[in-house]
Amino acid sequence: MIAVRGLQVSKSYGHFQVLRDLSFEIATGECYALFGPNGSGKTTLLRILATLHRPSTGRFEIMGHDGVTEREAVRSNLLLLAHGSYLYDELNAVENLRFAMAMRGASPTDRQIKLALDHAGIGAFADMKIRQFSAGMKKRLALAKAVLVRPQVLLLDEPYTSLDEAGMGMMNRFIRDIVKEGAAVLMTTHDRAKSAEVAHRAGVLSKDVLRPLTLDDLRTNDLF
């Protein structure tokens, strides 16, 4: 089944064209790694798929729901982990997770929250305010949120940034688990080696063109 489908998606800001006629598909149970130089539109594409921006032309579907006309259904099916941590500084880790899940209509048990925090390796910091978290700990808490949500479509914008080696390992382990369960993962990254561990397919977005890559390309060639 196709989880994410883009049909001639274009996005421009005024006269500046960021994306031009992008068509792509990601199946359930598949992880797609998207590369590209800075400013090539990778993050814009993720933000469009996450319903934060509308495409200027073209359309997209998430789990069969139209990305423009069925936004609520799309939002229920996906989760975006972006550069911003989406965490409230004055709340602690557990409170942030509870609030995030409440916004999705779910109320996890204490045990589920503890497991998610342990999964991300921050169980010891459950009661610490986010204000005191480092960038890497915030990233891990975002991972714990993804563990709780277990979305059908997971969008990751530079998932390895700020993470230490152990954190990157946890991120990849989670990606493997969720993909095995049938989720689709689209990640933008510059880390070829780490993404090659989990990606089934890869592509490079450069000069408005989405070019497919083989996994060997990730190890050998100059991508851009």
Partner: protein, 225 residues
């Protein structure tokens, strides 16, 4: 059911954040305190003159204090891109709006309840009998300011000059609420029979309902645009 839970969680989140940071209420309180002091030193009045003027002074202080709180309501969401989180969450946007309105009303009424005794002291007012009615007027007026102010706070949060734009947009639209609140407060403070200013209270209630319904409807479009 989810709708009411989202309202509850948004209120909880805003209140707990404020209790821990004390950023909004303290700035609202000190601003209002300065307003009271400036007015009390500017006008030396007997009690009768004070009763005529004080309702306007009270609502000037409440409105501008409220604008500080309303502005922070959504600018706080910019931290760590939490506004984006709210935008793309599947939670009903109307519930998020009502949660924000409720939290803003709590902040504003809290400050008003602390400040009003200072008005009583500085302007030598005798208001014991009118207190329940005054509290009702404050609540209705604050709700009116909060419903439309919360909407404009969301509208202006991404604008660079949001601190300027919020009062520019909000105050003209809040004029009917302000006039009704001032007139009702004046009636209550003067000890007039209720029949003489009942229509102002009814007007306040009508504005509250209209502003809530329109803003509730408009909020989803603002969050999605």
């Amino acid at each position: 059911m989810i709708f009411f839970r989202v309202i509850q969680w948004v209120v909880w989140k805003d209140l707990i954040s404020e209790v821990r940071s004390r950023e909004t209420i303290s700035s609202m309180f000190f601003f209002a305190l300065i307003v009271i002091l400036v007015f009390s030193f500017s006008f030396s009045m007997d009690q009768q003159a004070a009763r005529e003027l004080i309702s306007g002074i009270i609502w000037v202080a409440f409105a501008f204090t409220g604008i500080i709180g309303l502005g922070k309501s959504f600018s706080a969401e910019l931290q760590n891109d939490c506004l984006e989180f709210l935008q793309m969450s599947p939670a009903p946007k109307g519930a998020v709006y009502l949660g924000k309105v409720a939290a803003n009303v709590v902040f504003m009424v809290t400050v008003e309840v602390i400040l009003f005794p200072m008005f009583v002291i500085f302007f030598n007012l005798d208001v014991v009998e009118e207190l329940p009615l005054l509290l009702l007027i404050f609540l209705l007026g604050t709700l009116g300011l909060s419903t439309v102010g919360t909407l404009f706070s969301a509208m202006t949060v991404q604008i660079r000059a949001r601190e300027v734009m919020l009062p520019i947009l909000l105050l003209p639209l809040a004029v009917p609420v302000m006039i009704a609140a001032v007139e009702a407060t004046r009636g209550a403070l003067n000890g007039n029979p209720m029949a003489l200013y009942r229509h102002w209270l009814e007007l306040l209630a009508v504005f509250d309902v209209v502003f809530t319904v329109v803003s509730f409807w408009a909020f989803e479009f603002i969050m999605d645009s």
